[in-house]
């Protein structure tokens, strides 16, 4: 039983990371109706920036927030320079650009920081809190950080004028222009926010898996499975899906198929959801009138 609860809690911690990245995917999906395959590699690159800042002697949390700011700005620059010129382009063209971004970030990280694994610090103590034996401090910290990010994002989109305008721009760009919203900038802000949320995921996962250019490739797959499971157009669903995938992956990996085959859980989930319930648990069923 102890091993079971241990797996559940570490599953929740991993799930928090997947949930953050899944949320980043959903934010881009809502505006573009496409999955940004480069989201994971962007997060990985952000984590390298944090690593470099920490190496330069900055305290962890200073580096953390600085990285968020840099990632946010970077996301905006990417949207303005790479994605915006594609307005009106075919789906295939955009997907290829996403894959191009993935390759560029991967290669840049390897080129600048080398492919050697690097340890990444955790801001949380090494000892498990309150003397419990189920969950480590870093895992608890990851869950807490994820929840704070989610609550802040929710409040931003729900209660601020800018958040409302961003939702409107993603849903109905034509009407948004007719009320005076600068839709292009809202999309760019969305990219910035998604990049920042991805950076949080990267910085939280790096202490668990070590920092290397490959760090996020598997995690993006789990995040994608989480987003699909919850419903790719539903942010709250994607978050819940991310947590569910984290727990499932850990339990099935530990007790059923072994840790080496864990990633296949994500693939099985993706295929399963697409076959059985393509709109996920909470997504909108898409019906097209012919």
């Amino acid at each position: 039983m102890e091993a079971f609860w241990h797996q559940v809690f570490s599953g929740l911690a991993a799930g928090g990371i997947y949930a953050s990245l899944a949320l980043a995917l959903v934010m881009i999906y809502q505006a573009t109706h496409l999955v940004n395959f480069a989201q994971g590699e962007m997060a990985m690159f952000s984590t390298y920036i944090a690593w470099a800042l920490i190496q330069a002697g900055l305290p962890y949390w200073v580096a953390f927030f600085l990285t968020l700011g840099i990632s946010f700005a970077g996301g905006i620059v990417i949207e303005r320079t790479v994605i915006r010129p594609l307005a009106g382009a075919s789906v295939l063209a955009v997907v290829i650009v996403f894959i191009g971004l993935l390759v560029i970030f991967y290669a840049m990280a390897g080129w600048i920081f080398s492919y050697v694994l690097k340890p990444f610090p955790s801001p949380f103590p090494a000892e498990p809190p309150f003397g419990n034996k189920y969950i480590g401090a870093h895992e608890l910290g990851v869950i807490a950080v994820t929840l704070v990010v989610l609550v802040l994002l929710f409040a931003f989109f729900r209660y601020t004028k800018l958040g409302l305008a961003m939702r409107a721009a993603a849903q109905n760009p034509v009407s948004s222009r007719l009320v005076g919203i600068r839709v292009g900038w809202m999309l760019a802000l969305g990219w910035g926010l998604a990049a920042a949320v991805g950076a949080v995921a990267g910085m939280m996962v790096a202490p668990l898996v070590f920092l290397d250019p490959n760090m996020m490739s598997g995690i993006l797959l789990y995040a994608f499975a989480g987003a699909l499971l919850g419903g790719i157009d539903n942010p709250a669903g994607a978050v819940l899906g991310g947590f569910l995938v984290g727990v499932l992956e850990n339990l099935i990996g530990a007790f059923v198929i072994g840790n080496e085959l864990k990633l296949s859980v994500a693939l099985a989930l993706i295929v399963g959801v697409l076959v059985v319930r393509p709109h996920g648990l909470f997504g909108t069923r898409i019906v097209t009138r012919v």
Binding site: L164, A168, Q171, N172, V174, S175, R177, L178, G180, R182
Partner: protein, 237 residues
């Protein structure tokens, strides 16, 4: 009275197909003008061209100032409220969020709150449904919401694209009666595009008749509705 909107030689279309072939018309400050015509005459295209939602050429002046090179958002910011064809509802947002978006460009919170009470006064049914998802409203209520959303901008000019489309006659009457009130009380000029000519002529003071992208007849609403031959050959009633 001074002209609020002056349009000269407006040409526009979609891709290779040109729809408007040099349209000219004007609208007085605080006036109501109707653009009439059959399906495909270019009525909706005219409104879209005015807001630069489609590529267009020609001169468009708002209160004497050229607006034809401006982006849609900037034309809106100059006080042009557009109630688009299809109503443009943000269906996943609540009624109140739709109205808040209408006032997106305004910064005076107190004035926006007053404005919201004013539109709820015109359309009490929206007030009852303020927390409801806009997509769940009936067609008539969505039309009221679309008009209210445009009013939240505090526009000088309101562009109305077929407000009667798909609605029951009673609802249409209600909306047109309130439009007259809004025109007077808010001192907003209205450019109305309608297929229902008799309704539009009853509300408007001027009318322009469009045929294949050109103004073929223009005059006061009275003259046009009294002219038997125009009525028979163009308006079909």
């Amino acid at each position: 009275m001074a002209a609020l909107l002056e349009v000269a030689g407006l040409r526009a279309g979609y891709g290779a197909g040109q729809v408007l072939h040099g349209l000219s018309f004007a609208l007085e400050e605080g006036g109501i003008a109707a653009i009439l015509g059959a399906n495909g005459a270019g009525k909706t295209t005219t409104l879209r061209a005015l807001c630069n939602m489609i590529p267009a050429a020609g001169e468009i002046r708002l209160a004497g100032e050229r607006i034809d090179r401006l982006a849609t958002e900037d034309i809106v910011r100059r006080g042009v409220g557009h109630v688009p064809d299809g109503r443009g509802t943000f269906v996943h947002l609540t009624v109140e969020e739709n109205l808040r978006l209408g006032a997106y460009t305004r910064t005076d919170k107190a004035a926006v709150a007053t404005g919201m009470e004013t539109v709820y006064g015109y359309f009490p049914r929206l007030a009852e449904r303020r927390k409801q998802q806009a997509g769940t409203l009936s067609g008539g209520e969505q039309q009221m919401l679309a008009i209210s959303r445009a009013l939240m901008l505090q526009p000088r000019l309101l562009l109305l694209d077929e407000p009667s489309f798909g609605l029951a006659p009673l609802v249409v009457e209600e909306i047109f009666a309130i439009m007259r009130k809004i025109n007077r009380e808010q001192r907003v000029a209205v450019l109305l595009v309608e297929q229902n000519a008799s309704l539009a002529l009853a509300l408007a003071d001027h009318a322009y008749l469009l045929e294949t992208g050109r103004v073929v007849i223009s005059g006061t609403a009275d003259e046009i509705s009294r002219d038997e031959s125009i009525r028979r050959s163009y308006l079909g009633y």
